[in-house]
């Protein structure tokens, strides 16, 4: 087993991790800031892929799909928040979880009705077809693009949430909406924005994953489990945690694939079990804030 193989493997792990990070991020933001565990996240990821595909074929360009699908589905997410989730704040934390669980059934079946239950091909954008010779091996251009795009999105997101007043409102609003209202914040708008952002990120993940996998109604359910594992390892609500854990999971899967490939799925769960045994609140989670 030579070094170049290990480096290539590492790179595939990072690309895998990048998609995980972007989806887990949406989940963690919505949880951290609204206290909502969004079980429909996977379904929205899937819908994002369909929307991306549909918009790309409508406009004739993948790039429009990439840009518009997250916005459109994000807006749809706001609608979900406004019509359904909003009624549940202040009830037990389980309620939104259960509601979105039911919602995911509706969304998946809805897509089956509209687009059929078969997979649909999602062509790679022509500019990114093929592989790039890295000297030590070939790597798909598209995956390199995904890595870079995710890095940019992360940076922007982090700057807004940690460095601005908006970020403070958002973090506090999650924990105590009542006091935020008393302090003059229209918390409803904050909720809308956060949920929209989370869902938009899910959709972005979906569009990005589209050209790597075939698009089908079930593609979200697997992603959901992975995203959960990543968020839990990273610490629910922690953005840095999601990033670190996403890459960690991607790379471990990839490295395990080298030695015991059939264990690739289990390794994720095993990693989680180990992390939680050592730190029950996740790597970057804050103790006692879990419910």
């Amino acid at each position: 087993m030579d070094l170049s193989l290990i480096i290539m493997q590492l790179l595939s792990g990072i690309a895998l991790g990048a998609v995980l990070v972007i989806t887990a991020l949406g989940l963690t933001i919505v949880f951290g800031m609204l206290g909502v565990v969004n079980f429909a996240h996977g379904a929205l990821f899937m819908i994002g892929a369909y929307a991306g595909l549909y918009l790309a074929s409508l406009t004739g360009s993948f790039w429009w799909g990439l840009l518009l699908a997250p916005i459109l589905i994000g807006a749809f997410g706001m609608l979900i928040e406004f019509v359904l989730i909003r009624r549940l704040y202040g009830r037990s934390i389980d309620d939104p979880l259960l509601l979105t669980f039911g919602l995911s059934y509706i969304l998946v079946e809805g897509v089956r009705i509209v687009f059929g239950s078969d997979g649909i091909p999602f062509p790679t954008p022509p500019q990114l077809i093929g592989v790039l010779d890295l000297g030590i091996g070939f790597f798909p251009r598209y995956r390199l693009f995904v890595i870079m795009l995710v890095a940019v999105v992360l940076l922007v997101l982090w700057l807004t949430l940690e460095k601005t007043r908006v970020g403070l409102i958002v973090r506090a609003g999650a924990r105590d909406p009542t006091i935020m209202q008393v302090l003059g914040v229209d918390i409803g708008r904050v909720w809308l924005a956060i949920f929209g952002l989370g869902v938009g990120l899910a959709a972005l993940g979906g569009v990005l994953a589209g050209p790597m996998r075939s698009v089908n109604p079930e593609m979200g359910s697997l992603v959901l489990a992975e995203a959960f594992v990543v968020t839990v390892i990273g610490g629910l609500g922690s953005i840095v945690g999601a990033v670190v854990a996403g890459l960690m999971v991607g790379i471990s899967i990839s490295m395990v694939a080298l030695f015991a490939p059939e264990m690739a799925t289990i390794v994720m769960f095993a990693l989680m079990a180990v992390v939680l045994l050592i730190r029950p609140q996740g790597l970057f989670g804050v103790r006692g804030r879990t419910a």
């Binding site: 309620d95 669980f101 079946e109 839990v232 799925t265």
Partner: protein, 332 residues
Amino acid sequence: MTGPSSGEAVAKPASSGLAWLLDHRVLLSIAVLAVLPWLLPSKALAVNVLIYGVVVMGYNLLFGYTGLLSFGQAAFFGSGAYFTGIAIGRYGVPWFAAVPIAVLLSTCLAAAIGIVSTRTRGIYFSMVTLALAQLVYYVALQAASFTGGENGLRGFTVDRINLFGLQVNFLDPINKYYVLMAFAALAMWFQSRILNSPFGAVIEAVRENEQRARACGYDVERSKLVVFMLSGAISSLGGCMLALHLSIVPLDILHYQTSGMIVMMVLLGGARSFFGPFVGAASFLILEDVISLWTPHWQIFVGAIFVLFVLFLPKGIWGTLLDALDSGKARR
């Protein structure tokens, strides 16, 4: 789930009709179950109501009464079924011995998962149970020589059983139903015992306020672990029933979607109500049965009903019904 449960926990002196009903909840529940096969469209469905009723009831102990939202109950449902099947098929254990063995082993599994998961709180608990249960799923998938892997466990058909010297044809749906009902009755009696016991009070205290429970002198971690094991034990009994009923153990039984279904059923019936799990299991299964005959898109209806329940009937069918009966009377 949320809000007070009215009149479900400790029965007060039988001053009202409702209180009388609650005092005799086990007997009444059994009476309802006894006529069930004659009310439902098929016997197989009735048996499923029994099985899922027991599984969900066990889960209700954890989720409804203790407030621990686990997404891993499928692990115990499945382990009960697998252990029963393996004991009978591989080791030739007679069925009546296989069931307690399976429950015992499943309780051990629950202890193992519980030790890790009850250390965590809130949503972490949900996620950890989900992940650990998935781990069980993958282990079952990999250990194909024991479990049959993806193909499921087979080869342990119980077709005749000896009931106190009486040879009974277990393939006959009615016989099967009443034999399995005895198990369900046992589970109900056990659950009722737990709820009425001093430990039932501890469970409530832990649900309401862990820190306070600790300051009152309860070992919260240990109590949660015990509940987790009791809940796993009851749910695993449902698994044993499934194995006896179907003569196969499908791998999907361990999948997290089974856990999801269990959660749905408890919600539909009414968390933290005694008979709710059976109502939930019955309504879910009937609904699925009826709608899936009518349209292949049954999931959209199941999803919608689920959403509507969370929004408007968070106490489920049975819980809401009990509330309606109880309204006007002083809450306990």
